[in-house]
């Protein structure tokens, strides 16, 4: 950095301060000013965005619900060796817990317990009602008499995996695994395995859509970038119009195009290319999801590739041809390598957006076009398994943040442009 001729005397300002300090100080003032401006939007985003997302993360590992209902039971649970039915103390603790807790809490907890072992919910619901009539012990005997399941050791064993106030159980569930009562991990029973397939399908759909977008976007971007401006501006409208149009409008438009009696089928039949009986099924299935998502995401691919291509001087192609390369070779060896940054940006952008899609598959995907986003929505709104929804959300988010990081490495977030 500095050279050997630097004076030994430190530089001073006219009013006798160290120049370095003075610089630091003025720098600090400018930094503070900048941070002051940023602080309001920053805080806003922290409160209304970052904290909720963090809360989601907490929710995905939070398993305190059962602990709140069964504190006595869990306090002495470790004393039990787990080989045969527990003693009177455990039954008493369970009895007191169930009679002591609020009904609404018990309901929530039992739902949660049912995720791990079915029939817990019905057992607790029934028992909680009947326990009210029981005055005194010995509880073990009475409880088993109320319901035989209290004498079933597997129910007691399943409590083992519920004891911890934090759990990775939801994450395991999200990939078709679960905890055994001894906290070892096993696969879900066959009929409950759907998530791995869904993750796979989500990746597959995103991949297909990304590749299709790339194939379709590359020539169009090239055309737009090489045509004279007055023509390319006109064609650009074709790209920007869908970009600016409401997502739902585009979906409605595609429904009209692709449905059984839609424009495409009608046109094909009308022109004798298709028999009336054999109309193509292009909507409410996997194909529909792919077609519609490709059209919706295509502008996200075209715009970055186009903006990179626009900066490539036509002289490069001319120079390559002047040096003897055929247009095809010049394109392959000179033009294509120069477009890599745009392609990288487009690919990552489209993939990121595709992987989190929810609305489109929900409306046009039918049964075999549903993605992980739809499953999150289902657990959020219908099954109310919020822990699982959170866990899946966090996993999705982690994947996307990795891709976001790659995007930053390749293009730089500063270079993100709109329209």
């Amino acid at each position: 950095m500095s050279d050997a001729t630097a004076p030994n005397q430190p530089l001073m300002t006219s009013d006798g301060r160290l120049l370095k300090d003075a610089l630091q100080q003025s720098l600090r003032r400018s930094k503070l000013k900048a941070l002051g401006l940023i602080s309001i939007p920053f805080l806003f985003l922290v409160i209304v965005f970052a904290m909720p997302v963090f809360n989601l993360l907490v929710k995905s590992v939070d398993d305190n619900l059962i602990n709140e209902v069964l504190p006595r039971t869990f306090a002495i649970y470790e004393d039990w060796d787990g080989t045969e039915l527990p003693g009177e103390a455990h039954y008493e603790a369970m009895f007191l817990d169930l009679t002591g807790a609020e009904g609404i809490q018990i309901g929530k907890a039992s739902t949660r317990m049912n995720y791990d072992k079915s029939k817990w919910k019905s057992l607790i619901k029934k028992s909680a009602r009947k326990f009210k009539n029981i005055e005194s012990g010995p509880y073990k005997e009475v409880m088993i008499k109320t319901d035989k399941k209290w004498g079933d050791i597997t129910f007691w064993q399943s409590l083992g995996s519920m004891k911890d106030p934090y759990t990775f159980g939801y994450y395991l569930n999200a990939v078709d695994l679960r905890y055994n009562h001894d906290k070892s991990v096993t696969a879900q029973p066959e009929n409950r395995r759907i998530y791995k397939m869904l993750w796979g399908r989500t990746l597959l759909v995103s991949l297909i859509v990304t590749v299709l977008c790339l194939i379709l976007a590359y020539p169009v971007s090239h055309l737009l970038a090489t045509l004279p401006l007055r023509y390319s501006n006109l064609l650009m409208i074709c790209v920007l119009m869908p970009f600016w149009t409401s997502l739902l409008v585009r979906i409605v438009a595609w429904m009209i195009m692709l449905q059984q009696n839609g424009v495409v089928n009608d046109a094909l039949v009308h022109n004798g290319l298709l028999d009336d009986e054999n109309r193509l099924a292009m909507m409410y299935n996997f194909t529909g999801t792919i077609i519609v998502m490709t059209q919706i995401l295509l502008p996200f691919m075209i715009l970055p590739i186009y903006s990179v291509m626009r900066t490539i001087s036509p002289n490069y192609m001319k120079a390559a041809q002047n040096l003897g390369a055929s247009p095809a070779l010049a394109f392959l060896k000179v033009y294509m390598p120069l477009t890599v940054p745009g392609v990288g940006a487009g690919v990552i952008l489209v993939f990121i957006v595709a992987i989190g899609y929810y609305i489109t598959p929900e409306l046009v995907g039918g049964k075999d076009g549903q993605l992980i986003g739809n499953q999150i929505a289902y657990h959020l709104k219908s099954s109310l398994n919020w822990g699982l929804a959170s866990a899946m959300g966090v996993m999705l988010l982690a994947g996307i943040l990795i891709l976001y990081w790659c995007y930053d490495k390749i293009v730089g977030i500063d270079n993100m442009r709109m329209g």
Partner: protein
């Protein structure tokens, strides 16, 4: 000039939109080994001509020949013409060596041949140590040299250059002018050079074609171009020039008597007038005008008023008001110090008939 031209434009026209001709009826022969510069303001059609020669634009009409072979319909890659582009067009994703190897690889040259050619080309432009750098790691001048080396790595007989020095600063530009000139002389290639910088054109060229409005206004050696401009555009575009407007009264033996309002009759060499009675523009170079000449020594004398004096060391640039033109410049050599002029004074000026050319208005 040799009998067979290396390059020939025959009645070439070019229009982009079918309405306006940017190149109008171009006829031009370029001899083997010649350094020809196309000079003109932007939009004059010079770059279009170069691009037609390189094959990146097609002529709307007419033919272009390279060594008597019609090349209108030959692809740019098959023309065998080297080219240095404006801003160089060095491939930014390849090293210097890879840039130079590009045309050699395309022609499937052997590895050893490729290496020796790259080395020779880099030696020629004195960049031997830079083979593995990328273009953006080089200075402007170095990039320029690489561009020249790349255009020459295939031993083409014809090299085109499209404002190759435009991006360099003044000092580097002058240095590169001489280097390109020397390379041209050493290799004996035919060079077609496009520029809008007249000093560059005068320094480097064997012949200069001055373009304006899609037409070659004059094609001649640098000396002829400066000393004997054939029309008022050339006279004004090349070098400094004093203008006087008048009417031709009589004409004989190539000399016109021109009536200039406020200056009487001036005898001028007839170059490009519309005959007797027509208006004409007289062009006189500033260094050919004498201040206070001995009476009778010069054919034309008149009086003018000194408006401004600028001391420039070797001469004093004197702005005068002559016959209603207050931008009349006279370069007074510093040897005449004794007869120093003062602003506001009147002085007699004079010039030879030979130095005054009667041109179109």
């Amino acid at each position: 000039m040799s009998a067979q031209p290396a390059i020939r434009f025959d009645k070439v026209q070019k229009s982009y939109d079918g309405e306006v001709l940017v190149v109008k009826d171009l006829n031009l022969d370029i001899a083997k080994g010649e350094f020809l510069t196309m000079l003109g303001p932007s939009g004059s059609g010079k770059t279009t001509c170069l691009m037609m020669l390189a094959g990146f634009e097609t002529a709307t009409n007419g033919d272009i020949f390279l060594n008597d072979r019609r090349i209108n319909d030959v692809a740019p890659s098959k023309r065998g013409i080297g080219m240095v582009f404006q801003n160089y067009a060095l491939f930014p994703h390849m090293t210097v060596a890879e840039n130079l190897a590009f045309p050699l690889e395309v022609r499937k040259m052997s590895k050893s041949e490729t290496e020796s050619r790259i080395k020779r080309a880099l030696d020629m432009v004195e960049l031997s140590g830079f083979a593995s750098r990328r273009p953006l790691q080089l200075s402007g001048g170095q990039q320029q040299r690489v561009a020249v080396a790349r255009a020459l790595v295939l031993d083409h007989e014809v090299v085109l250059m499209d404002e190759p020095l435009g991006a360099l600063d003044k000092q580097l530009r002058e240095q590169m002018q001489y280097e390109i000139k020397h390379i041209h002389e050493n290799l004996g290639i035919t060079a077609v050079y496009v520029t809008h910088d007249q000093a560059e054109a005068l320094t480097m060229s064997d012949r200069i074609a001055v373009f304006d409005d899609g037409v070659i206004q004059q094609l001649s050696s640098p000396e002829d171009l400066y000393e004997r401009p054939e029309n008022s555009f050339v006279a004004q575009f090349i070098g400094e020039n004093n203008k006087l407007v008048g009417t031709v009264k009589a004409e004989s033996n190539g000399v016109s008597d021109v009536e200039v309002p406020g200056a009487g009759t001036v005898r001028a060499k007839t170059v490009n007038t519309q005959g007797i009675g027509g208006d004409t523009l007289l062009s006189i170079r500033p260094e050919r005008v004498h201040i206070n000449p001995e009476s009778g020594a010069l054919e034309n004398t008149m009086t003018g008023k000194v408006e401004e004096l600028i001391y420039l060391g070797d001469h004093i640039r004197t702005r005068m008001s002559v016959a209603g033109n207050d931008e009349f410049i006279v370069k007074v050599p510093n040897t005449q110090r004794q007869s120093m002029l003062k602003v506001g004074e009147s002085a007699t000026i004079g010039f030879q008939t030979e130095a005054c050319r009667a041109l179109d208005v």
